[in-house]
Amino acid sequence: MGGKVTCTLGEVKNRADFIVYWGGNPAECHPRHFTKYTLMQKSKFLPRGRKDRTVVLVDIRETKSAKAADHFLQVRPGKDFELLTILRALIKDQKVSEEQVAETGLSLEVLKDLIEKMKAAKFGVMFFGMGLSMTRGKHMNAAALLTLAAEMNAFTKFVAMPMRGHGNVTGADVIMRWQTGYPFGISLNRGYPRYNPGEFSTVDVLVRGDTDCAFIIGADPGATMPKPAIDHLAKVPTIVLDPHVTHTSRLSRVHITTAPAGIAAPGTGYRMDEVPMPLKPALQSPYPSDEEVVRRIRETIALRPDWMTNQPQMIEAQI
């Protein structure tokens, strides 16, 4: 997500006096987010800590995180995009009808009050979770929220940040962006990177049966993906690198046990705000690290003739 208006969690901790969580449940999914980065910390600019901050939760149901918030806005499921668009209109004093607001499950009064508070803030931040970016509208919802954050800067400082989930998924985004220019959903089959989620994203590729060999590392799609995707993984030669024998390993042709990253393998991991952190493994594993195994596979492949110079037909066929 290049071009987003964002900051680091250190800035949030020290400066954010208005915090919105949208479509996420940090109390249960990111348990130390409140205490370590957002709500509870005291700082030079917010000496009274929690008392100096206003916290709003927007979600489709009242989760445990609602208890920690000052205001809870219950949006009707699937209406996040509408709500964000209405907020974007309201901050610019454009006219919005009661009916349009009612569709989102909220009232104009509540939204006007919210906007007043947003504009009165010195430093606002909006965290958004999968409840926003994985439901109806998907990345368009995330884009609407990022635009709202950017537009709020006409009035006061405002930033947005995705609440990234498991492990080092932020690192994967960063590394792919650095190496290919795109964060995910990439095809290198023409010898240069192309980006097209929906076409090159894994679920779609697997459901369509568009791959004839899958290399899976640090993930267990055999436990999480829809059944047609898993069926295809079982059909083609699948190679799995994982510290455990996973669901995916059981349907794979090759499983290689590796040392768990951060526990027995050293390296770097990215925090959700894209700050890299060194890992400090406590144990010595009897297994090699992911890094070592992938490098050895790559070196073995590199010994063979290059496929691109071998079969340039795709390029010629295009001309």
Binding site: K36, D210, T211, I263, L283, I297
Partner: protein, 115 residues
Amino acid sequence: MELKVIENATCTFCGCVCDDIELHADDVRIHQAKKACVLGKSWFLNHTAEKKYPDALIDGQPASLDEAIEVAANHLYEADMPLVYGMSNTTCEAQKECVAMADLLGALLDSHTSL
């Protein structure tokens, strides 16, 4: 067995990546993960340095690492449209190797983010 204390260790279970964890570990397992939350604690305590699984499995049968690397490389090289996927629970160094390998193969490359 000697008990080590590792200060300011990093938890990568969730996106918070807390880097203030105090780990108490012997050679085999981590006994305590101070300051970590419930999720982080169970993550640290559930991994051990025991040899619970074979080095590798080929078609479900235990195999050596060298064999597995050879077979994996073969499958990937022979494929017309290989896919490199995942990269969540691993290090940036390994992710970089994955991108290099996908580049070499002319593969599809994707992470959890696309789900």
